[in-house]
C-alpha cells in the first residue's frame, strides 16, 4: 500500500510541478526577454508581475473555444493534446533525484526519443486539420524539420550510451559520478542541444511558426485553450530538453553535498531554460532549406564521426 501511495505522490507531484513550471515560464520568458531587450516586461500584476501567469492562464480559459467551420473537427481537437501528452509522458523517465523518478525503464532513453518523435504528429495534424494555407506550410516545414533532426538527435546520444553501457537514464546519471559526460562527449552535447532546440521549434529554429512569414504557422487557426495546449506544450518541451540535457551531460542530480540532489537538478535545468530564452533574444531565423542543409550536411556526418571516434576509443581502452 505504501509503495503504491509513494508512486501516486511522485506522479501527481511531478505533474503538478511541471504544469506550474510551464505556466511560470510565461512570466520568466517575458521578463527575461524584456531584461535583455532594454524593456520592463509585465511588471504590473502582483509582486514582480508574477500574477501575469494567472491572468494569462485565465485569459486562455475564458477565450472562445473556436473551431473554424472549414477545419477537420476531430483531428483539429486532437492535435494540441498530442504534444502535451507526448512531452508529459517523456518526463516519466527523467531522474530528478536518486529517488524521484516515475519509472526507471531500462530503455529510458529510447522511450524519450520515441515520445519526442510522436510529438511531430501534433504539428502535422494540427496544420493539416486547420485547412489553412499558412498552417499547411508551417506543418510541412515542421514535419521535415523534426524528422531530420530526430535522426542525429538519437545518433548524438549513442556516445553517452556506449560510455554507460545502458539506456537507463538513472544508470547514465550514476555513471557520471567521476566525470560529467560533457567533458567526454562535448560534440555529442552540442549536436544534441541543437537538435533539441529544433525539436521544441524555438528560435532560431521556429521555422514552423515563423511569425513574420507564416503568421503563426501550424497553429494560426487555434485559439483559446487549444492554442494554450500548444503554448504549454512548447514550454514543457523546453523544460524536457533542458532536463534531459542535464541528466545526460551535466551529471543530473550530482553535485556537492551541501545542497540536496533535487536542488542541483533544478538549478542546472533552470540554467538551460534561461539559455533557451537567451537564444530567442539574440539570433535571427535561418531559412528552411538552410536549416535542412545544415542538419544533413553538417550535423549528421559530425554525429556519425563522433559515434565512430567514441566507439574506437572505448574499444582501445577496454583492450585487455
Amino acid at each position: 500500500m505504501s509503495e503504491t501511495l509513494t508512486y501516486w505522490i511522485v506522479i501527481i507531484g511531478i505533474l503538478f510541478v511541471l504544469l506550474n513550471v510551464a505556466a511560470l515560464l510565461i512570466w520568466v520568458e517575458r521578463r527575461m526577454l524584456a531584461l535583455w531587450q532594454d524593456r520592463l516586461g509585465p511588471n504590473r500584476a502582483g509582486p514582480l508581475g508574477l500574477f501575469i501567469v494567472l491572468a494569462d492562464t485565465l485569459k486562455l480559459f475564458f477565450k472562445e473555444d473556436w473551431t473554424p467551420p472549414f477545419a477537420d473537427r476531430n483531428v483539429f481537437v486532437m492535435a494540441p493534446a498530442v504534444v502535451v501528452i507526448c512531452v508529459l509522458l517523456s518526463f516519466a523517465v527523467i531522474p530528478f533525484a536518486p529517488n524521484i523518478q516515475i519509472v526507471d525503464l531500462n530503455i529510458g532513453l529510447l522511450f524519450f526519443l520515441g515520445m519526442s518523435s510522436l510529438g511531430v504528429y501534433s504539428i502535422v495534424l494540427g496544420g493539416w486539420a486547420s485547412n489553412n494555407k499558412y498552417s499547411l506550410l508551417g506543418a510541412l516545414r515542421g514535419a521535415s524539420q523534426m524528422i531530420s533532426y530526430e535522426v542525429f538527435m538519437a545518433l548524438s546520444l549513442m556516445g553517452v550510451v556506449m560510455l554507460t553501457g545502458s539506456f537507463s537514464l538513472h544508470a547514465i546519471v550514476e555513471a557520471q559520478k567521476n566525470c560529467w559526460f560533457i567533458l567526454l562527449q562535448p560534440v555529442g552535447f552540442v549536436i544534441f542541444f541543437i537538435a533539441g532546440i529544433a525539436e521544441t521549434h524555438r528560435l532560431p529554429f521556429d521555422i514552423p511558426e515563423a511569425e513574420s512569414e507564416l503568421v503563426a504557422g501550424f497553429h494560426s487557426e487555434y485559439s483559446g485553450m487549444k492554442f494554450g495546449m500548444f503554448f504549454i506544450g512548447e514550454y514543457l518541451g523546453i523544460t524536457l530538453i533542458s532536463a534531459i540535457t542535464v541528466a545526460l551531460f551535466f551529471g543530473g542530480w550530482l553535485g556537492p553535498a551541501f545542497l540536496p540532489p533535487i536542488v542541483w537538478f533544478i538549478i542546472k535545468t533552470t540554467g538551460f531554460i534561461l539559455f533557451f530564452i537567451l537564444l530567442r533574444a539574440s539570433l535571427p531565423r535561418p531559412r528552411y532549406d538552410q536549416l535542412m542543409e545544415y542538419g544533413w550536411k553538417v550535423l549528421l556526418p559530425l554525429s556519425l564521426l563522433n559515434l565512430l571516434v567514441t566507439g574506437g576509443i572505448i574499444l582501445l581502452l577496454n583492450q585487455p
Binding site: 526577454l33 535583455w36 531587450q37 532594454d38 524593456r39 494555407k133 499558412y134 506550410l137 528560435l203 532560431p204 521556429d206 515563423a210 511569425e211 513574420s212 512569414e213 507564416l214 503568421v215 530567442r280 533574444a281 539574440s282 539570433l283 535571427p284 531565423r285 535561418p286 531559412r287 528552411y288 532549406d289 538552410q290
Partner: protein, 582 residues
C-alpha cells in the same frame, strides 16, 4: 549655352517644330510639349538613341486642365500627361507633356519602352480615366475596383460630405468581397504546370511581415515563388487631391504623413517646389537648420528600417535597441519642433521657430552617443552569420535593371552607382557639407542594408557640421510669401500690412507656374510637382514617391526565391505603405 538650351537644340535638330515646342517653367527642368502621336518616337529617341540618353523614367502623371484659371492661354485644354525622365550622363531632368482632348481621352502606352510605366499608367487611368492603348493590364490600382468615378478629375468631390451618406448594404458587401477575390487568369498566371498544381497564397492586407496594409498574392510551387502580384491602395488617402483643396500653407501637415518615417523631410520636398514657384530665397540659417532636421529624420527612418528588417528575419532584440535610440532623436526633435513623428515644422520661406536655447547641447550629446551604438548594431546584425545567410545573394538586381524599373536611393547605390541627389543636384545648401556617398557592389539584400547602415554614419557627419557651423540670422525669409509673413514692418508700410493681412487670412497667393523639386529622401528620391494657376491653393500637386516604383519591381525580383526570402526582399526594400499609396 546652358544644359536646357543644349537639349532644346538637340531635339529641334531631330524633330520638327510641329512635334516639339518648349515651355518655360519656374524650375530649371527643360519642358517640351510633344504632339501626342509622336510621344513614342521622342521617348524612344531620348532613351535609346541620344548620345547622352535619359534611361530613367522618373515620373508619369496627368493634370486635369479643364478648370485652370489660365486655361485660355494654355496649350492643353482638357488633360495633360506629363513624363519626367532623368539622364545620368547629363545630370538633367527633362519634362515632356502631351495634350489630350475630350472627356475620357486615351494615349499610347509606353510600357514596352519602360516596364515601370505600367503602374504609373494604371494610376493615371485610375485617377483621371485616361486610357492607355497597348497597356497589358489597365486596371485601377489605388482605388477599389468597385469605385465610381476618377478622383483627381476636377468634377469628383473631394470631401465625403459631398458624396451622400455611406450605406453598406448586404449587396455592396457581396460586390466588394467579390472584387477582392483573386483570379489568377486575369493576371496571366497558370493554376497548374505540367508537373505541379500551384498554390495561391494571399499575404496581407493584414500580415505581420508586410509592415502595413499591403497585399501580395504569391503563386507558389511548394515554397518557391513562381510569381507575385502586389495589390496596393489600402493606404490611399488622396493626398494629391487634398492638395487641391488646402491652402499652400495648410498643405504642409499632409506632406508629413506621406513617408511617415521621414517627418520634416517631406516638408522640405514640398517647400522646395513652392519656393521655386514663389521665387523665395531662404536665409542660410534656415538651410542649415532644415538640413540638420532632415538628417535626423534620415537616421530615425533608417533605424526603424534596421530594426524591423532584423525582426523580419527573426531577430527579435535589435528593434528594441534601435527604437530606444530613435526615441533619443525624437527627444531632440521634440525640443526643437514640439512634435515627434510629424512635426509639421518647416514653413514656406523658413521654419516655424528659431532653434531653442540649448539645442546644441542636445545635438552634441547625440553625436557623442550614437556611433558606439551603430558599431554594436553592426556586430549584432550585419556580422551575424545567419543574417548574412538570409540576405547575401538574395533579391539581386543589376544596375541596368534598377534604372529600368526606376529604383532610386539606397537601392540604386547598392548596385555600385554613387548617385546621390544631395551631391549631384544639391538643394538646401547640401553642396557646403562634406560627406561620402556609401555604395555597395552586388545589389542584393545585404548590400542594400549595408548602404543604409553607412548612410547613418554620414548623416551624423552632416549633423555634426551643422552643429559646428550653424549660421546666425533670421529663421524665415522676408519674402512676403513666407508663411506666416514677418510682421516687423507692418505698422510702417502699407504694402507689408496688406501682404500680412492677406497671408494670414487667405494664405499666400503663389504666382502662376509649375515647378518640381527632387530630394534624396530616406527611401529614395521624393518630388513634389506643384502647379499654380495663381490661386490660394495648388491647382495640382503631384507627389512622386520612391516606394511606388520599388514595390512595382517586387514580382520581378522575387521570382525563383522562397517565401522566407520574400521577407528579406521586402525588408531590404524599406518602403512604407503611405509612401506607396499617398
Amino acid at each position: 549655352m546652358n544644359a536646357s538650351e543644349k537639349l532644346a537644340t538637340e531635339l529641334s535638330l531631330k524633330f520638327s517644330d510641329s512635334v516639339l515646342t518648349q515651355q518655360q517653367t519656374a524650375d530649371e527642368v527643360a519642358t517640351f510639349w510633344v504632339d501626342k502621336t509622336e510621344i513614342i518616337p521622342v521617348l524612344n529617341y531620348l532613351k535609346k538613341q541620344s548620345a547622352e540618353p535619359f534611361p530613367l523614367l522618373y515620373d508619369l502623371f496627368a493634370i486635369d486642365e479643364r478648370s485652370r484659371a489660365d486655361h485660355k492661354t494654355h496649350p492643353s485644354k482638357d488633360f495633360t500627361v506629363v513624363y519626367h525622365l532623368l539622364s545620368f550622363t547629363r545630370n538633367q531632368f527633362i519634362r515632356l507633356k502631351i495634350a489630350l482632348g475630350g472627356e475620357y481621352p486615351s494615349a499610347q502606352s509606353i510600357t514596352h519602352l519602360w516596364p515601370s510605366a505600367s503602374w504609373y499608367e494604371r494610376e493615371v487611368y485610375d485617377m483621371f480615366g485616361i486610357r492607355f492603348e497597348g497597356h497589358p493590364h489597365l486596371q485601377r490600382i489605388l482605388m477599389p475596383l468597385t469605385w465610381q468615378g476618377h478622383p483627381l478629375r476636377k468634377e469628383h468631390p473631394a470631401r465625403a460630405t459631398e458624396m451622400g451618406p455611406f450605406k453598406l448594404w448586404d449587396e455592396k458587401v457581396d460586390t466588394e468581397q467579390a472584387a477582392l477575390e483573386f483570379k489568377p487568369e486575369q493576371w496571366g498566371l497558370q493554376r497548374h504546370s505540367d508537373d505541379a498544381d500551384f498554390m495561391f497564397l494571399n499575404i496581407g492586407p493584414q500580415h505581420p511581415g508586410t509592415h502595413g496594409v499591403l497585399r501580395i498574392i504569391l503563386q507558389l510551387d511548394g515554397e518557391n515563388i513562381i510569381d507575385a502580384v502586389p495589390d496596393i491602395g489600402f493606404h490611399h488617402r488622396g493626398a494629391e487631391k487634398m492638395g487641391e483643396r488646402q491652402s499652400w500653407h495648410t498643405y504642409i501637415p499632409y506632406t508629413d504623413r506621406i513617408d511617415y518615417l521621414g517627418g520634416v523631410m517631406n516638408n522640405l520636398a514640398y517647400l522646395l517646389a513652392v519656393e521655386k514657384l514663389a521665387g523665395i530665397e531662404v536665409p542660410d540659417r534656415v538651410k542649415v537648420v532644415r538640413v540638420m532636421m532632415c538628417e535626423f529624420f534620415r537616421i530615425a527612418s533608417h533605424l526603424v528600417w534596421y530594426g524591423t528588417f532584423a525582426q523580419d528575419l527573426g531577430q527579435l532584440s535589435p528593434v528594441f535597441y534601435m527604437f530606444t535610440d530613435r526615441e533619443k532623436i525624437f527627444d531632440i526633435v521634440e525640443a526643437v519642433t514640439g512634435g515627434r513623428m510629424h512635426p509639421n515644422w518647416f514653413r514656406i520661406g523658413g521654419v516655424a521657430q528659431d532653434l531653442p536655447k540649448g539645442w546644441d547641447k542636445l545635438v552634441a550629446e547625440f553625436i557623442a552617443y550614437f556611433p558606439k551604438r551603430l558599431k554594436e548594431y553592426h556586430n549584432m546584425v550585419m556580422r551575424n552569420s545567419i543574417f548574412k545567410a538570409r540576405t547575401v545573394g538574395i533579391g539581386i538586381y543589376t544596375l541596368e535593371e534598377a534604372i529600368e524599373w526606376g529604383v532610386t536611393g539606397p537601392g540604386l547605390r547598392a548596385c555600385g552607382f554613387d548617385w546621390d541627389m544631395r551631391k549631384k543636384q544639391p538643394y538646401s545648401g547640401y553642396e557646403n557639407f562634406e560627406f561620402e556617398v556609401p555604395t555597395a557592389q552586388n545589389g542584393d539584400c545585404y548590400d542594400r542594408a549595408l548602404v543604409r547602415e553607412q548612410e547613418m554614419i554620414q548623416s551624423l557627419r552632416i549633423i555634426e557640421q551643422c552643429l559646428k557651423n550653424m549660421p546666425e540670422g533670421p529663421y524665415k525669409s522676408d519674402n512676403p510669401h513666407s508663411t506666416p509673413p514677418l510682421k516687423k514692418n507692418t505698422m510702417q508700410d502699407i504694402e507689408t500690412l496688406i501682404n500680412h493681412f492677406l497671408n494670414v487670412s487667405w494664405g499666400p497667393v503663389i504666382p502662376k507656374g509649375e515647378a518640381m523639386s527632387c530630394i534624396e529622401a530616406t527611401k529614395g528620391w521624393n518630388s513634389y510637382y506643384m502647379v499654380s494657376d495663381g490661386n490660394t491653393s495648388p491647382y495640382r500637386s503631384r507627389i512622386r514617391t520612391p516606394s511606388f516604383p520599388h514595390m512595382q519591381m517586387l514580382p520581378y525580383i522575387t521570382k525563383g526565391y522562397t517565401v522566407a526570402d520574400l521577407l528579406s526582399i521586402l525588408g531590404s526594400m524599406d518602403y512604407v505603405l503611405a509612401d506607396i499609396d499617398r
